[in-house]
C-alpha cells in the first residue's frame, strides 16, 4: 500500500485500524532497527518503540504530507530514542557512570546481540562518536539513506551532514585500526 493511501485510509474511521496495521507492517521493523542502533538494548528499544508507535497513531491524522511519511516516522523515533538516553543520563548525573558506558557494557554482555569481534568493535567505535555523528553514520552506513533524507529527518543541512559523516568514518577507522 502506498503511503498516501495509508494516510487517507487512516482518516476514515471505518478503515483507520486497518490502515495503521498496514503502516506497522510496512515500517515497524525499520523503526525498530533505527531505535535499536541508538539504544542498543532490546528491552529498552521495545519500551521506546511502543511509545513511538502510539505517538504515530495519535498524530498521524494531522500529518500534512509535506515530507515523506518515513522521514516523519524516523524523526519521531530519533527524538524519542534520544530523549530516552537523555533521561537515562540524568539518572547518572551524580555518579561516574555514564550512559555510553552502560551501552558499551550491553554490547559486550547484553542479550540478542550476535556479532564477531570486529563487528562488535565497530559498534563500540560508533558509541565513541558525538550524538549527531553517530546518527548520521548509522543512517548512512547501515540504512543507506541519502543525505537529503537524513537532512529531512534531523533538520540539519546536507553540507553539515556530509562533514559529520566524513569525520565519523575517519574516527571509526582510527578506532578500528588501534592496537
Amino acid at each position: 500500500l502506498e503511503d498516501h493511501q495509508i494516510i487517507e485510509n487512516f482518516k476514515d474511521p471505518s478503515t483507520k485500524n486497518k490502515a495503521f496495521n498496514a503502516l506497522l507492517e510496512k515500517y515497524q521493523q525499520r523503526i525498530y532497527w533505527h531505535i535499536r542502533k541508538i539504544i542498543i538494548d532490546h528491552d529498552d528499544t521495545d519500551d521506546v518503540i511502543q511509545e513511538v508507535l502510539i505517538k504515530i497513531y495519535k498524530n498521524l491524522s494531522g500529518f500534512r504530507e509535506a515530507s515523506q511519511l518515513y522521514t516523519w516516522l524516523y524523526r519521531i523515533a530519533t527524538n524519542e530514542a534520544l530523549t530516552f538516553l537523555k533521561r537515562k543520563q540524568k539518572k547518572f548525573a551524580y555518579s561516574l557512570e555514564d550512559v555510553n558506558n552502560e551501552l558499551e557494557n550491553k554490547l559486550s554482555s547484553g542479550s540478542y546481540i550476535n556479532g564477531d569481534e570486529i563487528q562488535l568493535k565497530l559498534q563500540k567505535a560508533i558509541l565513541t562518536l558525538p550524538e549527531k555523528q553517530r546518527l548520521v553514520f548509522n543512517m548512512k552506513y547501515f540504512d543507506d539513506l541519502k543525505y537529503q533524507e537524513i537532512s529531512d529527518i534531523l533538520g540539519t543541512s546536507v553540507g553539515g551532514l556530509k562533514a559529520n559523516f566524513h569525520l565519523a568514518v575517519k574516527k571509526i577507522q582510527d578506532y578500528l585500526t588501534e592496537d
Binding site: 511502543q50 494531522g62 500529518f63 578500528l176
Partner: protein, 186 residues
C-alpha cells in the same frame, strides 16, 4: 560604420589591456592549496577504506526474540483498541474532576517551587554555553515535530478550554451537579 565600430572596440581593448586589471583580486587562506590536496587525499582514503568497502561490517549484529515483530503488532493493537472511554464517564462527578485538578495544581505549584530551587542549584555548575546549546537543540527538534502536526491549534485550544473551565462553568452545563454534591457529601 564598420570603421567606427572597430575603433570603439579598439579603445575598449586598450582599456582592458591595463595590466592592473588583469591582477586577481581574490585571495585564499594561508596554505589553502596544500590543505586542499590533503583534504582530497583523506577523503579518497576514507571512501576507499576497509570500513566503507566491507560488507561484513555492514551486517546487523542485533537480534530480536522470536516472533518479536508479530507480538509487537498485537500489543500495539491491543493498546490502541482499548477504547479511551473505558475510563468510566465521570460527568456525574464533574465537581470531583475539578477538585482533583485543584489538588494536583496546588501540588505541582509546591513541588515546582522546590524543584526549581534544586534545579537552579544544579544548573549553577553547568557552563552557560552548554545550557544554551542544549536548549536550542532540544527546542529545534520538538518545535519541528510539533509543526508537522496540523491539528496543533485545535489541540491547544481544547487544552485551554479544558484547563480554564471553572466549577461555575461546569455547573452551568450540568445543573444536576448541585444534587450530586449533597449526595456525595452524605
Amino acid at each position: 560604420l564598420t570603421i567606427k565600430a572597430s575603433m570603439t572596440s579598439k579603445r575598449n581593448d586598450s582599456t582592458l589591456n591595463n595590466k592592473n586589471l588583469k591582477k586577481s583580486i581574490f585571495t585564499v587562506p594561508k596554505d589553502y592549496f596544500e590543505l586542499l590536496s590533503e583534504k582530497v587525499r583523506s577523503k579518497i582514503s576514507t571512501e576507499e577504506s576497509e570500513l566503507m568497502k566491507s560488507s561484513i561490517l555492514r551486517q546487523n549484529v542485533f537480534q530480536t526474540p522470536d516472533n518479536y515483530f508479530e507480538n509487537l503488532k498485537s500489543s500495539i493493537n491491543a493498546r490502541i483498541e482499548q477504547p479511551e472511554s473505558k475510563v468510566v464517564p465521570m460527568y456525574k462527578y464533574q465537581w470531583l474532576r475539578y477538585a482533583a485538578a485543584a489538588v494536583i495544581l496546588i501540588g505541582i505549584a509546591i513541588f515546582g517551587l522546590q524543584k526549581q530551587q534544586e534545579d537552579i542549584n544544579l544548573l549553577a555548575g553547568v557552563p552557560d554555553l552548554a545550557i544554551i546549546e542544549y536548549l536550542e537543540e532540544k527546542q529545534a527538534l520538538e518545535y519541528d515535530l510539533l509543526l508537522s502536526v496540523t491539528d496543533l491549534n485545535t489541540i491547544l485550544d481544547d487544552m485551554i478550554i479544558e484547563e480554564t473551565s471553572s466549577l461555575s462553568f461546569a455547573m452551568g452545563e450540568h445543573p444536576e451537579l448541585d444534587y450530586e454534591f449533597e449526595y456525595l457529601d452524605y
